[in-house]
Symmetry: C2
Subunit: 360 residues, 2 copies
């Protein structure tokens, strides 16, 4: 058993802070990711918080500051549930590292993502109780986790535009897949921002601040920004990440597998991010000249990825299986992974491909 | 002078129905497109409507049907203004036709797009007066133009989700760039749906219908859908278009130009579509290995494209200037135009490039 109640088949990138991704086989089990298989991206030691002592402060540009216990949060506001995919901005970084190394960053494969059923209250309802002032354009979140990768150490934080914060799908969640949130996933309460990079779904939430400007802390003003290839991380350098870019990967077979020639089922996921949905997934066996459409599997709603599958007929020999997803704007993924390389290794959303060998 | 008060430098694809695009040089004049240079995509003869006799009906799934004169529309609701880019789903089709011909479709270059200042009332305010019922999930628009490319001929129409229809940026517009809407652009009143394909900005509006499902007419259920490469147009075939996909093109110099060696200014546009904005535009002189960032010019707000410029230093000889835009999800454009080919030639959003010859 891995730490934090996780299955042994997680791929652990770092023990402290704990960082681990879901293996392809576990992701392929279905569109809802089991909690004990769900990825963890942490920047500090997992805080141990006594739920009975926990308070949530809401302040900044509000008419009325709030200071709420967990009991009040659960009693005062309507409980809501959302199925939402979370995806780390570093998902599939390994593909970029194969182009050129990215020292100091974890080589995440395609498993820094997962989909769960989240239970909590709408952030919008809590904000409405506080009454955001006209000048409040962003809503910041502060966690309890202290991150020593920054000097001086700071607590994790981030913000989203108030437009998004006011939509019903953004939750202050205490439940995950029908169970109380576990410590490693942010207990007692975390934010869940569907369609946004995982870094905005701040865990171990302690404070919400309505602000005139985006979060000025390290994890939004320095990290989680897309630099040009020759850029240097620094305050305000590069474009801030937020909405997840259209992405996809193959979950089965695995890259390099040997399979029996004949019909082979290929499975994977695709995630559109933002407010978009996955409209189509295509698979090519000839390097992108001809494409066949995969079947989109169970639709878990507008905030969830789509799993897909297709049966391809493989003659004996080596094959490349190339995939591209399309979103609801009819945009598809870029081809060339190398040209997406960036110094922090974020947003690798190049078309995925695997190589397999079919044997008679 | 071209018909309909248009400048002579429009590129006319068809006289009847009138279809004409703005030339690159006219687009490059600035981020607001002059009305006499603005593209026109029509499917029928331009209706001649007496504004004094015009009525707008609002019906379908509403508590209260409306039947409004232009005077009532202007008096009863608050006037609003939006700067918004319109873009035809067939913009840049010529690039796809260079891959393989698309008979029966116009070879639009990059000028089936433009940005104007629109004046009117919010569709949301008119809908609120009618009171959409719970089952109303889409809002349909019917124009007065009769389109004989369908048999039997039908009036142009389309719909958008009620979520979008309820946002303040969707206008029923009677003004364009400070002047009354001209007949060819939909007088007396047209819809303007920022971020959506031009086909949803229905001209010569006569009727609004709140509906349980998307518009069943030809121009949404058969046309303006993205088919797979080997698909055949038909009712419900392919994915419906709606949000505009991230796109860009070069406006100056023109492809094939000869320019003096040394510093050369390159200009173009980029448009993110949907609710996204343009985050970055890159230019490469070495086929995509190295990229330099262009300067983003005047920001006309969240519904407008961005013009951009960069000065590149060209040695004497042949050069390819390659461009890619990035949106606010950190998604960039696909590379390979050929792999975007589709039977109706929609959504060519491949990275644009031009070839120029620099002479000493």
């Amino acid at each position: 058993m891995s730490p934090y109640g996780k299955r042994a088949d997680l791929i652990v990138h770092e023990q402290e802070p704990f960082n681990a991704e879901t293996g392809r086989a576990a992701l392929a089990e279905g569109p809802l990711t089991a909690t004990d298989a769900f990825y963890v991206r942490g920047h500090g030691r997992v805080p141990e918080i006594d739920p009975a002592a926990w308070r949530l402060r809401v302040d900044g540009l509000v008419e009325r500051r709030l200071d709420l216990s967990l009991a009040t949060l659960r009693e005062a506001f309507r409980e809501r549930e959302e199925i939402a995919t979370l995806q780390c901005a570093g998902n599939r970084r390994a593909g970029l590292m194969a182009v050129r190394d990215i020292p100091g960053e974890a080589p995440w494969g395609p498993g820094a993502t997962g989909t769960a059923r989240w239970t909590g209250v709408a952030l919008a309802d809590v904000l409405a109780a506080a009454g955001p002032l006209e000048e409040g354009a962003h809503v910041g979140f502060v966690g309890a986790d202290v991150c020593s990768e920054v000097a001086p150490a700071e607590t994790f934080g981030g913000s989203i535009p108030i437009d998004k914060a006011s939509r019903p799908e953004v939750l202050l969640a205490w439940g995950m897949n029908g169970e109380p949130l576990s410590p490693v996933h942010g207990a007692p309460v975390r934010v869940v921002v569907p369609g946004y990079i995982g870094a905005r779904s701040v865990k171990w939430l302690e404070r919400i601040e309505v602000r005139p400007a985006p979060w000025p802390g390290y994890f939004q003003h320095v990290a989680y920004r897309l630099l040009p290839e020759d850029g240097t991380p620094g305050p305000g350098a590069g474009m801030p990440l937020g909405l997840v870019a259209l992405n996809a990967d193959v979950l089965s077979p695995a890259d390099g597998d040997t399979v029996p020639a004949g019909p082979v089922e290929v499975r994977g996921y695709a995630f559109a991010g933002g407010e978009r949905h996955v409209a189509r997934v295509d698979v090519s066996l000839d390097g992108g000249s001809g494409w066949a459409q995969a079947e989109l599997l169970e639709d878990l709603g507008r905030w969830a990825w789509r799993h897909w599958r297709i049966t391809v007929d493989l003659q004996p020999g080596e094959h490349e299986i190339l995939v591209r997803a399309w979103d609801s704007s009819a945009a598809t993924q870029p081809e060339d992974e190398a040209s997406l390389w960036n110094p922090k290794g974020y947003v690798n959303n190049a078309r995925p491909s695997i190589r397999v060998r079919a044997v008679p």
